[in-house]
């Protein structure tokens, strides 16, 4: 069972992080309850009314960006898994810099979408 200890630690850390944030927000934040704020939360949609209404096309734009930046994980995870083996076979900076180049390319894409105003909800 000892090898599962890291997983337990991760669980505790995740739970602790979430709970701490909620408590901090409760303690520090202001409390102004408006009608809109007290409504049940459903990902920004109006929870009452017809279910057949159209989604705004803006959601699709966000979805597109999400897919693109989300997929980087499938390259990062294998890299992280073999990292220890690789640094013995190849030079350490090389293995690290290769992935940094990949992230830099993604970051350029991020800057580009920011400059093009993709994150501005009202403009898209």
């Amino acid at each position: 069972m000892k090898e599962y200890l890291p997983i337990l630690i991760v669980f505790i850390f995740v739970a602790g992080f979430a709970v701490t944030n909620v408590i901090l927000a409760y303690l520090i934040g202001q409390h102004k309850n408006t009608r809109a704020k007290l409504m049940p939360y459903e990902c920004g949609m109006d929870p009452v009314g017809t279910a057949r209404q159209r989604f705004s096309v803006k959601f699709y734009l966000v979805a597109m960006l999400f897919i693109l930046f989300d997929i980087e994980a499938i390259f990062l995870v294998p890299w992280a898994v073999v990292f220890k083996d690789l640094i013995y076979k190849l030079s350490k900076p090389f293995v690290f810099i290769e992935m940094m180049i990949f992230i830099a390319v993604l970051f350029i894409g991020y800057i580009y979408s920011w400059r093009k105003g993709l994150f501005e909800w009202n403009r898209a």
Partner: protein
Amino acid sequence: MQLENLGLYYWAIAPEIIVSVVGVIIMMVDAFSSRGARKLNAVIALAGLIAALVSVVMLDGLGSGSYFSGMVVIDPIRIFFSVTILLAAIVAALLASQFLKDEGLPPGEFFSLLMFATAGMLLLAGAGDLVTVFLGLEIASITSYVMAGYRRYDLRSNESSLKYFLLGSFSTAFLLYGMALTYGAAGSTNIQKITAAIASGQVNYPALLLIGAALMIVGFGFKIASAPFHLWTPDVYEGAPTIVTGFMGTGPKVAVFAAFIRVFVIGFGPQDSEIGIQLHTTWVTVLAVIAALTMTIGNVIAISQKNIKRMLAYSSIAHAGYALVGFLTGDFAPVAFYMLAYSIMSLGAFAVIQLLARAGDQRTEIADYAGIGFEAPALSFSLAIFLLSLAGIPPTAGFMSKFYVFKTAWDMTPELRWLVLVAVINSIISVYYYLYPIVVMFFRPLVPGFIKPRIAGMTMIALILTLLGTFYLGIMPNRLMNAMSRPPAVVTQITVK
């Protein structure tokens, strides 16, 4: 283990790196410049493409080899096809500047998409592994889907892009399934290892290999627009902006032909074992039938077209058929020469059509060309030369490339002489529809509302380059042909580094 042991030689992918980095630079210039910077983007793009061209020529001097664990190879196929791709991209970049200005479209994205598409095509031309074939093909295709829909507020452009996208990704799935089955059967995705497995007869499930090859023919056949997988071509070519049509009809096709040759002629080429012979006869027969169908369908349907872009779409289908004849000789040189000649004359024709069509592609019917021959003589004569070259009239590139392909096929593959005859008959049929727009241009009364188009400097350079290329390949093809005709052993025997 050192980097060299993995074959990580970055200079081996220098052209791809240069083109991609330039694409990123253009993106950044576009993001941080206030309005447009069209000329700057065009100049950066051209500089990058020329640098890549130089690096390709330098790679040629370094001899053949395979790098990155066999993912990328350097061989004559890659060199010649890469040069063709880069020339097509340079002409497209020269033409794009005026097109973007006249249509008022954003320039930054266009040039960066052009760069990324070119990078994908170069990777495809240099792919030594099914993984890189897939990756290169998809980079080239996905960017082409976007470029087809570049005229964002035009329904025809939207539709073209959608059809290209749906059918393109549909065919990619077939290609990918074929690759997966081949991987399972041959035990590797590396093309050289596939060759070795087939040559020694060590194939896990021979049936899987045959199904895999069939599925790959579907996938590749779609990308080069061969019948019966050609149905998307006319719609996509008509709806896409004319420059994009010209580029789509040449660059990706050239690159896919390179990969097609590498997978089939080299990968599925050995005839030393029972399965090898079976596989080889099967694909040669299937592709011969496809080639005959492609030429005939393309040419026959082209005759009845009223729209010049649609007509050239069917003509491009027919030309894929002729190139397939060269493919079946088992030598890459006829195909490479054919695709180079085709790219030059086709891009030239589309350049003139773009100028005559005016913003929004309003005038693309052949009837709109009536009587303009002596109103805009430079453009009309250029178009006439490109059309005659496409028809294969000497002394143009079109004639010489057809002659080269047909002669090689006649000499090297006696069992396929019937196919050469079909091809020759088809070229005779094709003369009719290529001559028709010329007759309309010069011998009909002038159509009302014709305005002589303005030709910008860069467009002029592109036109002159394509015209010179058409005549150069038609009159003095020897130098290029000699460079290409190396002993086949050099092409297929690659030292693994």
